[in-house]
């Protein structure tokens, strides 16, 4: 029989997180700091709207780009939070999670050989999506000393004649890094000068702890070259509803819609009705969750300081990214031993790119009670490793 598989797909590596996931799921008693989704349930009034829509028999397709009411609420939200003006009719598309938006955005913009700049450490799907869209991923290794922000110099150095798109993943998973307005201004100048386009993944945009999130689309000359991606998973604790959106220039959204229409048809109808409620009446929920995350974040930073584990202060998402280089182990070795000996799962930084080597992603999407237990074990483990090192 012929090989049924495409050469391209065989070349794509499976997610580095997968291996860890398999080990952890076998261990009944393991506790985890490894999840990438909120610990909160979707606020009840939002779930209630989903249920109500089902009761009323709203079980049909919506229009391809999404419910009109939802698109309008998305525009209202972007207006009130960022001051951005989008035409709900032509510049918004409701997608199956932010993930779909990344995929179709790249597919709509790339020709074979076009280079896509991907700052890493970052979410696992940018690179494979770029390859599947025919593009060539070019990795920019972000640095601890810059608090894992993207600098204009790093961007400039990575640009070639073939560069077309920059993926901008801030607030960042896995580092928790943010880009403040001044950081964005510095790179916007480079982006415009080289006539690049930006896919700005702002899925963690509601979760920042140092001023409010600023979208790069708000800077002069940027809205016409930016696809802004956001969604409901992180801000409203709605991961399982699979709902996100993309906003951008009409001509790009129009082509994204073509792919979406043929591949997906439309985002889940129930989720769209629930999302309308989230945008209309969910601000208070977001505020409360953000405050809870922030308290946990401070708690963790304090705990790291006490155990002498170096970690830059992250101001976004719900991750911290401590450095474990002092122990002379790879991230993978550290995480494996920690899991084996202390029964706590963390994700090695390398799951998010080579530049994550020497770091761990620790999620604080857990109650403080749970965090106290697992961080206590991290403290014990670190002390044990230091003793081993001293004895050598």
């Amino acid at each position: 029989m012929r090989d049924p598989l495409s050469r391209q797909i065989k070349e794509i590596k499976p997610s580095g997180i997968r291996k860890f996931f398999d080990i952890v799921s076998e261990m009944e008693d393991a506790i985890s700091l490894g999840v990438g989704e909120p610990d909160f349930d979707t606020p009840w009034h939002i779930r209630d709207e989903g249920i109500y829509s089902l009761e009323k028999g709203r079980t049909f397709y919506t229009s391809n780009a999404g419910l009109k009411e939802l698109k309008m609420e998305i525009c209202n939200y972007l207006k009130r939070s960022q001051g951005l003006d989008y035409d709900f009719n032509k510049q918004v598309i409701v997608t199956v999670g932010g993930s779909e938006a990344i995929d179709i955005g790249l597919r709509a913009m790339l020709d074979p050989g076009d280079e896509v700049l991907i700052p890493q450490p970052s979410y696992v799907s940018y690179e494979p999506c770029a390859i599947l869209a025919g593009g060539v991923p070019v990795i920019i290794d972000l640095k601890n000393e810059n608090e894992f922000r993207l600098t204009a110099k790093e961007l400039e150095d990575a640009i070639t004649e073939k560069t077309k798109v920059l993926i901008l993943p801030f607030p960042n998973n896995p580092t928790g890094a943010i880009m403040e307005k001044k950081d964005l201004e510095a790179i916007a100048e480079v982006i415009i000068r080289h006539d690049l386009f930006v896919i700005s993944d702002e899925i963690y945009g509601e979760l920042t702890y140092k001023g409010e999130h600023v979208s790069i689309a708000t800077l002069p000359g940027m809205i016409e070259r930016t696809i802004l991606i956001n969604g409901f998973s992180k801000a409203y604790a709605m991961t399982g509803w699979r709902l996100g959106y993309a906003c951008g220039p009409k001509n790009i959204i129009e082509q994204m819609l073509k792919i979406h229409q043929f591949a997906i048809m439309c985002a889940p109808t129930t989720s769209q009705y629930a999302a309308v409620e989230a945008l209309k009446n969910g601000d208070e929920d977001v505020k409360q969750m953000r405050e809870a995350y922030n308290q946990r974040r401070r708690y963790l930073m304090h705990a790291f300081k006490e155990m002498g584990l170096p970690c830059f202060e992250p101001y976004g998402a719900f991750y911290v990214f401590p450095c474990i280089k002092e122990f002379g182990m790879t991230s993978d070795e550290f995480a494996s031993r920690f899991l084996e000996e202390e029964k706590v799962a963390v994700v090695p930084g390398t799951a998010f790119g080579d530049s994550g080597e020497g770091f761990l992603r620790i999620s604080y999407a857990y109650s403080l009670e749970d965090l106290k237990v697992s961080i206590g074990r991290l403290g014990d483990f670190v002390a044990k490793l230091r003793k081993e090192q001293a004895g050598r």
Binding site: F21, S32, V35, Q295, R298
Partner: protein, 160 residues
């Protein structure tokens, strides 16, 4: 800061000052001072423990009692409310709007004891017009805490 402290200790009164200081990013001394003034001002009136007596071997019965009363000239409901809350078995007294005036919650060792309180003490008060007693059969949620179900984390243990 005040609102944040209150919302934390309302859920967990055993939290120590050090942890509050870390979580709110405020010096410990400021937290201590704020707690002290909250106590002095009577904003914080006590530190209680939520107990699900159902799970112990101790027999307890609780009831909610609706009470209709005649308000008194010049004092409204205050005198009669005071009269009622002095009984140690009364755990709370609320003046409420609607079809009756006071809502009382009561704890006793047995149905008999609660009934005896209502018939002997409460109903015989001069300004009490009528009472309706509701025995609590099961507590699902109390003070914002769900008692009937334990939280289980249903998320996958590792996700990107």
């Amino acid at each position: 800061m005040r609102e944040k402290i209150l919302s934390i200790i309302e859920k967990n009164s055993r939290i120590d000052i050090k942890e509050l200081a870390i979580r709110l990013d405020v010096p410990e001394i400021d937290i201590a001072n704020e707690l002290k003034s909250l106590e002095e001002e009577g904003v914080i009136c006590g530190y209680h423990t939520m107990i699900d007596w159902e799970k112990t071997s101790i027999e307890k019965v609780s009831a909610l009692i609706e009470v209709r009363v005649t308000p008194q000239r010049g004092q409204g409901f205050d005198t009669i409310a005071e009269r009622i809350y002095k009984y140690p078995e009364v755990t709370s007294v609320y003046l409420i709007s609607g079809g009756y005036d006071l809502l009382i919650s009561l704890e006793g060792k047995s149905l008999k004891e609660v009934s005896a309180f209502v018939s002997d003490k409460l109903s015989t008060l001069e300004s009490v017009l009528s009472t309706a007693t509701h025995f609590i059969l099961k507590k699902y949620k109390d003070h914002g805490t769900i008692l009937t179900k334990k939280y289980t984390d249903e998320r996958m243990k590792v996700t990107p």
